[in-house]
Symmetry: C2
Subunit: 514 residues, 2 copies
Amino acid sequence: MSSRDGYQWTAETGLLQGVPSISVISPPTYVPPNLNQWDVIVVGAGYSGLTASRDACLAGLRVLLIEARDRIGGRSWSSNIGGYPFEMGGTWVHWGQPHVWREISRYQMRSELEPSFDFSHGVNHFQLRTHHGSSVFSHEEEDTLLAGALQKFVDVDGEMGRKIMPYPHDAFHNPSSRQYDDMSVLDRLNELAQSLTPNERAVVESFILLCSCGTLDTTSFFEFLHWWALCGYSYRGCMDYLISYKFKGGQSSFAIRFFRESLATGRLSYTFNSPVQSIDDQGHKVVVNTRDGRHYCSARLVSTIPLNVLSSVSFYPPLDPRRAVALSTGHVNQCVKVHAEIASPKMRSWTGISYPFNKLTYALADGTTPAGNTHIVCFGGAHNHLQPEEDLDETKRAVENLSPGNMDIKRLVWFILDVSSRGLCIFADFKMLQVFHNWCKDEFAKGAWFFSPPQLVSKSLDVLRSRHGNVLFANSDWAVGWRSFIDGAIEEGTHAAMTVLEELRPQPDIRSLL
Amino acid sequence: MSSRDGYQWTAETGLLQGVPSISVISPPTYVPPNLNQWDVIVVGAGYSGLTASRDACLAGLRVLLIEARDRIGGRSWSSNIGGYPFEMGGTWVHWGQPHVWREISRYQMRSELEPSFDFSHGVNHFQLRTHHGSSVFSHEEEDTLLAGALQKFVDVDGEMGRKIMPYPHDAFHNPSSRQYDDMSVLDRLNELAQSLTPNERAVVESFILLCSCGTLDTTSFFEFLHWWALCGYSYRGCMDYLISYKFKGGQSSFAIRFFRESLATGRLSYTFNSPVQSIDDQGHKVVVNTRDGRHYCSARLVSTIPLNVLSSVSFYPPLDPRRAVALSTGHVNQCVKVHAEIASPKMRSWTGISYPFNKLTYALADGTTPAGNTHIVCFGGAHNHLQPEEDLDETKRAVENLSPGNMDIKRLVWFILDVSSRGLCIFADFKMLQVFHNWCKDEFAKGAWFFSPPQLVSKSLDVLRSRHGNVLFANSDWAVGWRSFIDGAIEEGTHAAMTVLEELRPQPDIRSLL
């Protein structure tokens, strides 16, 4: 099946809407004719919604899953093009991420990971391009440079952040950590102006912007410290947890397990292609109205609508004004992720930063396609924003600029995958493939993974996590632990399902003995 | 409630059987009178059995939980004495352990951890006592010494084990890792004879024996490499993951959540004090016979009986001979864990190793009791074995010997907690408390956490994990990931419940679309 979340072009077929993905569900709707009320409606089929639906179905509840798109996975999905899984969004996982790993283990997928990095051959170096010139480092030198810079950046307590944030899953355990949410990353860099070398400053800024895809002044220092703590307070942890291990079969090979298990219970109804207009909590039931005029009702509702999208849905009664303020603030991640297929197989061991002049700043070789070409994944963000489909030449130059002379652009194919503009695709040659999903313009995401501006988390996390009558809110954007990550989405879906289950479960004759 | 897994003595009461624990279930049996067949019988109420029972109950199956003891938790349980939770077995957890942390997060217990270590005041040092004399190090020097020694020990591939075991949850991913299961820790030490200093050798041997509680020649080098990989291939990871974070309320405050949730479904039957005599798989059903002559039957059975105990139960049809061989080999962990309450509050920041002459080799200050005394936890094992209740003076000397002059033995109370000998308790004074559970003599454990001799895992892990008709085997002793740990127990219980559920779930009219 193909998702309309993308387009592709070949010389033979011309422009075709849709990229293939096992995440597309067909038929798109299954609602038994006699069923008109559910125990729980789950809005959104990303990992939060998939987890909440599955757990509720497993526990015997009747569930209706409503999704705006034609596919599962939300901001994590993969498209298999030419036998190679391109990750359109969230990609990397790690066994130290507890919720996602519990599921990988439960689905017996422990052996289905592979590393992104392969520092074994060919152009086996790190290329740093800044205003000061271009340098080449061994990957060991890359590690030393980045580790040193990051350690200076995070060391607010003489213990690399361990004292200020001793429990990464309880980030305000030490109340002193709150002060760092009043600071932007730029504020912190200004404190360190005299102690970072120019190269250290370039790589630390690039790395942080890879994490937030915002700008230095809109990125919360607290939130970066939180990522650092989650990554074991080490540079090596950052590499391992954040950008190293992916599914051989792509993210959608994982997400589909949740959906299939829910289906197998016989208790899942679902409807895709169904953007929600409004959610009306009438006290004794919740009514969901879709944009195309359908109505569904249930005892409880789990909204997994992302932070940056939630204000587009009307709620009755209206949402808490404090939540509304947080929604209007939103998160800052405007990631641009471009996949490039480069003719040269020698580039497999390459990594690079081009900053700040380039519109794609951080890139790494991520695999070898069946054709023997090198797959390079490139990241940009709000600080020097690129809208790939608006200026394809600019995108091409941004890829070239990462490693002039090595990106063989005489041979180039672009796929532009964009939800809102519904696609645009330019051909140059067959040997290089570019794939991307413009999350910023995606009306059902309005940004990529969560990354907070200063003060959002310390002021609004509690209200974002709070319920609204019979409506629960579950999304990685306000997870406690691995917020922004697939792990956080599963954390949230697990919690929502458990809450619903405790409330709706018929009360047995529990003896008072415990 | 009090568990008979222990005794206590005070001057007022004299010797009393039982130590208080919320892990004791009362009434000890709840089997509805009309029920004589279950969907699944789970044998064992440790974390594997608790998880399997809970997941099966949640999914709508009728479950009978059969346990030999009077309490839940198996080899992890806590006794609250004088307002202080003494951990009788498995203690430490970490957010990087995926299965246990998923549960901690799901039960909203993220804020209920506290650190064992507190390096802030008083006798704030590491004391190393060897045949060569006694030395005092700062804790930073302790870290440097241990980190250096361990790094030499594990660095078989120039990458600290990352190359030989790149996926800790898929330990044979690189087949070359198997060769290290042919080696004992002693074999590896012999290779390093010329490169370890005497102090390095003393601390690395002590640390490994803290992990295995076997002897150097009965401890598999592979298994230690597996622990190292799980700990992020670092000394700091070992400290953080293995011996740093515990529940403020004790392990039993966590275990009881699983049991209560199972009860709340109304689908759990249970019987404690019910050692199993035999398990008879008749094909269409499984029949369990208890030692006291009761019979129960079910469609599936999940045995969570530990490796070292499983051969005491009769199976029909007989177990696979290869499994029987593995059972007769068993694991080597003969841990002796002694809790000492020391009068001096100044000892809170102390750690120590006394090796190899002392029968308690590794010890650390673990808390301050409500009375203001220091709680020190001391470990010994098979290499210089102590049976505490057989010679209480020897136990006392072993504690004293950890830090002569600092363990104020003029003021001393011992509690001897021992299942098989059913208790023995000696009083000396009120200001020092010793608590222990002799896992080696415990007929339902026959050892502490799993640690393998050479060749057991590489030859027998698959057969230990295999099913036997309608009988599934779930125990941390043969987990894939955090084998030996609470995490591994939950991994196993999760997997067993899912398998049973897939087999017993009524098959709905699943459309063939996916």
